[in-house]
């Protein structure tokens, strides 16, 4: 299963990268959202899949799934949410103020030559 997941994660990363390289701000935000999904799955896969029971002591199992990646991912999910929502509002405000969401026109430097 890990090998399948490796390819799934690869595809998600690919799509995310492609979206992030496009010009529309909304697509870039969707790309970052996708990227965080891919990362979470990647971290989970790296810890090994289906090694045992869910990491709850109440299960009284001999073997548990690795709890550490899960803890990390839990943190990451929340942070990704924070970042995505910040980014969304930023995009919304930028569009309101500047009237465009085209990245080619939202250039950082003021070089008009």
């Amino acid at each position: 299963m890990e090998i399948v997941m490796a390819f799934v994660v690869g595809i998600i990363f690919m799509a995310a990268t492609y979206l992030m390289l496009s010009k529309s701000l909304l697509r870039i935000i969707i790309g970052t959202g996708l990227l965080s999904h891919g990362t979470h799955l990647l971290v989970l896969t790296m810890g090994g899949l289906k090694n045992g029971a869910a990491p709850l002591l109440g299960e009284h199992a001999a073997q548990y799934n690795d709890p550490l990646p899960q803890a990390l991912i839990l943190t990451a999910i929340v942070i990704a949410f924070g970042v995505t929502s910040f980014f969304l509002v930023l995009a919304y405000r930028a569009y309101q103020e500047l009237g465009t969401d085209n990245m080619d026109r939202l250039r950082g430097t003021k070089i008009n030559e």
Binding site: A6, I11, M14, L26, G33, H37, P55, N65, L68, L88
Partner: protein, 801 residues
Amino acid sequence: MSLLHLAIVSPLLLAVIIPIFSKSIRQIHTGWFVLPLPVVLFSYFLSFISTTSHQGTVYESFEWIPSLGINFAAKIDGLGLLFALLISGIGALVVLYSIYYLAKDKEQLGNFYVYLLLFMGAMLGVVLSDNLIVMYGFWELTSISSFLLIGYWYHREKSRYGAQKSMLITVFGGLAMLGGIILLYIMTGSFSISEIVAQSDIVLEHTLLIPAILCFLLGAFTKSAQFPFHIWLPDAMEAPTPVSAYLHSATMVKAGIYLVARMSPVFAESPVWLWLVGGFGIVTLFWGSFSAVKQTDLKSILAFSTVSQLGLIMSLLGVGAAALHYDGIDDNVFTVATTAAVFHLINHATFKGSLFMVVGIVDHETGTRDIRKLGGLMHLMPVTFTLAIIGAFSMAGLPPFNGFLSKEMFFTGMVNILKLDLFSLSTWGLLFPVLAWIASVFTFIYSMKLVFRTFTGKYKPEGLKKKPHEAPLGMLISPVVLGSLVIIFGLFPNILSHNLISPAMASILPSLLSPGDIFDVHIYFWHGPTPELFMTIGVVILGILLYLTLPKWEKAYHLLPEKLTLNKIYDRGLESIQSGSFKLTRFYMNGYIRTYLVYIFAFFILILGYTLYTKDAFVIDTTNVSSIGFYEIVLSLLIVVATITILFAKSRLTSIILLGAVGYTVALFFVVFRAPDLALTQLVIETVSVALFLLCFYHLPKFKKEESKIPFKLTNALISIGVGAIVTAIALSANSTKLFDSISQFYVDNTYIRAAGKNMVNVILVDFRGFDTLFEICVLAIASLGIFAMIKLRLTRGKEG
């Protein structure tokens, strides 16, 4: 930390306090608070003379970074002491002079004295450090303080230009010297100068010898304004005159001389050293004196004259290295060059220091330094005129001043080189005395020009901004002291020879001395009718002739087109470096976020791919993989399809919903992979996210059809596929290699014992890694504050435009 260390850093300490004085006590000139320090330092250093004149040294060290071999080791030997006396002695005179030169109500005295003290401490550090890294630190500090002092009147454009120029050139040399220091460390494994000197035979055999010599000499030549790096010194004359007298003639520019002298015991036996030091020195001597003649600004004349005199000392140090190829010190004719170098070093500090102060007085009292506007000041400023005569005649090498003695010895050293039958010196060596003699003629001419164009001739009051009169007494004290020294050293040179010159020589040429031996230096006023005497007479006769006919041949100076001068080359070089780097930066920092992302991703692909390839890290091992179930296949297909569809989604709504679909599938994956907490969180978060997206989507514009060109899409596709492939490869390899045991077992074992919880993930989050969670909350708080601010805050734009 010993008293010696304290002495070295005391100027730096005072520099911290001095702004308080200058701010709070305005009635008294800040200089008076500074003056005691160099006086005390001077007398403190004087007390070491009895030690060094018996070949003794004082060594104090305290550990700074012992693991790297960097200790603040302070060492006083003949050479270091000579410089320390120069620095503190001239320093005291210059501070005294500056009190009268800089008006207390007009200038920012706090800044001035802080910089000056900074320099004094740094320079003492350079000459008294035995550790090369420490010395390098102080060395750069002298460059920085020199920069600050040249730019003291920073509102003048020329000051800023000169400051930048000196900084660029000397710091460039300093960095080269750092390279040399590291090379020496590679060769000997030590930063301590004493230890490196002890291992000089290893250094001389080493293949890195030549690069190390070149690096050190770059440092020395840039600092001591040797041709072709001399161009910064004339521009440094924008500094206030006390600074020019102190840094740019008596002390800082001699740091290069010091470096060459200090490293002589290590490198001097190499023929490359002799040729480079001697050759660059003699060329600088000639070029400096030649250029000085054409200058019309008094300080420019002195600047070029300083360049040329530094070249003179440098060439003597180079030629003096020949002595190392003969054993013993009795009848070793080449040591006279080194004697002359040390002697002239002292003499130059005295006569050039007094000349700078004289020029400062002229500038101060008349308002101009232009030689064409000056003239006939002899009757108005008799004391200054006398001092100028003393200084200039000494510089020109006339008896009975000290310059005459060292100039004679200089000729002796240069003539003696013809007796050397090493390194093809017997043929090319002839250039040394010839250039030396020609340069001396020019030296004579500009010395005369300096004095007689200013003080004799027709008095032209209409061109002057002020009505000239003799300088106040306080301003005259310092040059009078230096002027008297010129005469005293001229008449009784041997008060220096045993106390200062001989110990300094022992530091430069230690290998010639057997234990307990000393250099027996005797300076004679009268040598008898030797070639040197005739050379001097020739210089005087030809010099007078050329001086009198100067207007007729002065035009020769315009033969060299201005475009080819070193200054123009420097300017154009600087300009093209600036515009070139600007173009380069604009080329890759073009302001499009996509470009930057492409760089980041491309770098990601390359560096990870390269590492995977070179380390043979890519492996697929299927022994430990888990089984593939039906649900997982379905979920995998679902997520892949949803992801790919986003790429082709035409409308915003579709892509948002598809993103939601991916998120929910991820949650289902968490269920399948037995991560209940993750699944719950993901479900909640995904729901909120999708709601947020839908909320915002209403306000965001529709997708436009991306009418981009094929190459654009192709690059994107290539990069994306690359990223995907690399991530897959890493995931596969990571799963297949287990380099060490997981730390997770700790959490499994201790969840209940240590934290009394049963849900491992929760316990990790709130207990074992509680800080992580705390900061996570902080991130959320910051994000929400940001969002709040963005929504609530409306920047009111300016109405205009």
